[in-house]
């Protein structure tokens, strides 16, 4: 950074020397504007993001489009938008307990998982970010391997483990199983945020006579509030999108919406409108809260390391 400071210093002296005529100032401003625009030099910089976003939105649009059609229209005439928009597909879902219970089940175990994961991850992340202790690096690495573990490896052993405890088809079973990848995720994300808080704050608080729990709740938590929010969001998201483990551990009472959807595809097979409506409803939770975490999405996916 030293040479950069030097350049700015040079620039400053340079500016002082130039006569501050109006002409020179406009020229300076023009140069500055040009410099700022570099990276978007061509006038068509917006073209690439636009094309990419259209590519992303088309399949989603198609699903939404289908969810407003009835089956005759879907299978009959090919149309780019619903000719006779109908809410019948959504009505099916909201009136049939075997459908809407799927959403309730998913939300129950996802919320349980988020609460458990973040609650146990908070002290651990604090320990990793502030202290060195015996085996800390190994432990941190071991957590990572669990985040990277393929769910397929764990599906069968999970089934046997939770059968042994009589927990099959309960929400808590899925919530605990999802801790496999969500606890490491929460620890890594929170550690990333906590390491950004200077240690002097802790020390000052202790000198001021704060006890650890009081310091943690009253001073530290507000400082990493956004980190906690991001960790919650990502735990929620990864538990919400997972299917394999959730499906293996449930039969009827706690069956997630994702599993109910796949069953409908294979069994009755052709109710495309309802399938599309169910799909749209699973996208909504993510779409609703994404605005609040937009600046942290990269950080969350990269385990707090961007």
């Amino acid at each position: 950074m030293a040479h950069l400071d030097e350049t700015t210093a040079n620039e400053r002296t340079l500016m002082r020397q130039t006569p501050a005529t109006a002409e020179a100032q406009t020229a300076n401003a023009r140069l500055a504007r040009k410099m700022r625009r570099r990276g978007e030099e061509s006038r068509f910089w917006w073209l690439v993001p636009t094309i990419y976003i259209i590519f992303l939105m088309l399949p989603i649009y198609w699903l939404v489009n289908m969810s407003f059609k009835n089956n005759q229209e879907i299978l009959g005439a090919f149309s780019l938008w619903p000719r006779n928009p109908t809410l019948a597909n959504y009505a099916v879902i909201f009136n049939d307990p075997s459908w809407y219970r799927g959403y309730i089940n998913s939300i129950i175990y996802v919320v349980m998982n988020t609460v458990i994961s973040v609650a146990v991850a908070l002290p651990a992340a604090y320990a990793f970010s502030r202290y060195r202790f015996l085996g800390d690096k190994h432990l941190f690495f071991w957590l990572l391997t669990n985040r990277m573990a393929p769910p397929a490896v764990f599906a069968l052993p999970f089934f046997q483990l939770y059968s042994a405890f009589g927990l099959i088809d309960t929400h808590i079973a899925v919530a605990l199983a999802h801790c496999l990848f969500n606890v490491p995720l929460a620890v890594w994300i929170l550690e990333g945020f906590m390491s950004g808080v200077p240690k002097e704050i802790d020390e000052t608080a202790y000198i001021d006579g704060y006890s650890f729990p009081r310091f943690f709740l009253r001073i530290f938590m507000p400082l990493i509030a956004s980190g906690v929010g991001v960790a919650c969001f990502f735990c929620f998201m990864f538990s919400w999108v997972e299917l394999l483990i959730a499906r293996t551990l449930t039969t009827t009472a706690a069956k997630p919406i994702a599993a109910i959807m796949t069953r409908t595809v294979s069994a009755s097979g052709l109710d495309w409108g309802v399938l599309a409506a169910a799909g749209v409803l699973t996208i909504l939770p993510g779409a609703l809260v994404i605005w609040f975490v937009r600046n942290y999405i990269a950080k969350g996916f990269a385990l707090g390391r961007v």
Binding site: E41, I53, A302
Partner: protein, 288 residues
């Protein structure tokens, strides 16, 4: 940050340790258990040694699934990484476009994986899907259900659709951290667009890029739900990747010994990659 040595910190880590031990170590021990034993049913097990490992390492089926998965991961990386960089370079740096781009681009990342499968299953159908119907109308003989090549193209395009945004967002995070002064210096030196990319942007991005490559490799290496929903591993076995094969072996055929041995081989590969990831991350943290 300078961290103080304090072994009492173990008490803060203990809940995590217990929880993850319950959901990781016990299941893994079951897997190890199965991988070295054989059974004729009735819960009677006897020692099988390395038999299952030899069987899995000599089975064509395992190596074919592994090969398919490696080819898949390679194609994914070759497409998604350059595409992600290219899009990140063209993202707006300020103004109302930034949040709009971030939110819209992140949307596919937040869709449940089986719904991603469903979306593309429907989108690619030749009778009711926009993609399949349009391709047919344009005269392509497209059918992802019967044609292995079309099935591969569909699965790859689906993954590009699903995950390229991750690369974009990571690269973008790297790009916005470059101070304006760097660009001003380049401008004064009369650097070309390519030189700016090669000597300013790429070096600043290379850590995020490493993270992106590793994450994309890992996640594509254990992909299960999306191709399972779209193609079910078919036509034939042509899109049966490692995870799909493993679940078939364990739950479909209930071949526990072989499935367990395969799990362990699979897990060891993942461990190795995690170690690379960890080394990169800690090197990055040390520099921070």
């Amino acid at each position: 940050m300078e961290r103080t040595w304090n072994n009492k910190a173990w008490f803060m880590v203990l809940p995590v340790l217990l929880l993850v031990a319950f959901s990781a170590i016990i299941p893994l021990m079951t897997v190890v258990n199965y991988s070295v034993q054989d059974t004729f049913g009735n819960n009677v097990f006897f020692w099988a040694g390395s038999e299952w490992f030899e069987e899995i390492l000599h089975s064509d089926r395992f190596w074919e699934a592994m090969g398919r998965n490696l080819v898949f991961s390679a194609i994914i990386l070759i497409i998604e990484i350059p595409l992600g960089i290219f899009i990140a370079l063209n993202m707006p740096k300020k103004g109302w476009g930034v949040p709009v781009c971030l939110v819209l681009m992140a949307l596919p990342l937040l869709i449940p994986w089986n719904v991603v499968g469903t979306i593309w299953q429907v989108f690619g159908r030749v009778d009711i899907g926009l993609l399949g119907y349009s391709l047919r109308a344009l005269g392509f003989d497209y059918n992802y259900v019967n044609d292995p090549f079309d099935a591969w193209v569909t699965v790859i395009v689906m993954d590009v659709w699903h995950w390229t945004s991750l690369v974009v967002l990571l690269c973008y995070a790297g790009l916005v951290s470059i101070p304006d002064a760097y660009y001003q210096a380049a401008k004064i030196d009369g650097a070309s667009r390519w030189a700016i990319f090669r000597y300013i942007q790429l070096p600043k991005m290379n850590r995020v890029l490493l993270i992106a490559v590793l994450l994309r490799f890992m996640d594509s290496f254990m992909i299960y739900t999306e191709p399972f929903v779209v193609t079910g591993g078919g036509p034939g076995n042509t899109t049966t990747f490692l995870s799909i094969d493993l679940v078939k072996l364990a739950i479909g055929e209930f071949n526990l010994g072989e499935a367990a041995a395969m799990s362990i081989v699979y897990f060891l590969i993942i461990m190795l990659l995690s170690w690379v990831f960890y080394t990169v991350m800690t090197a990055y943290d040390a520099e921070r």
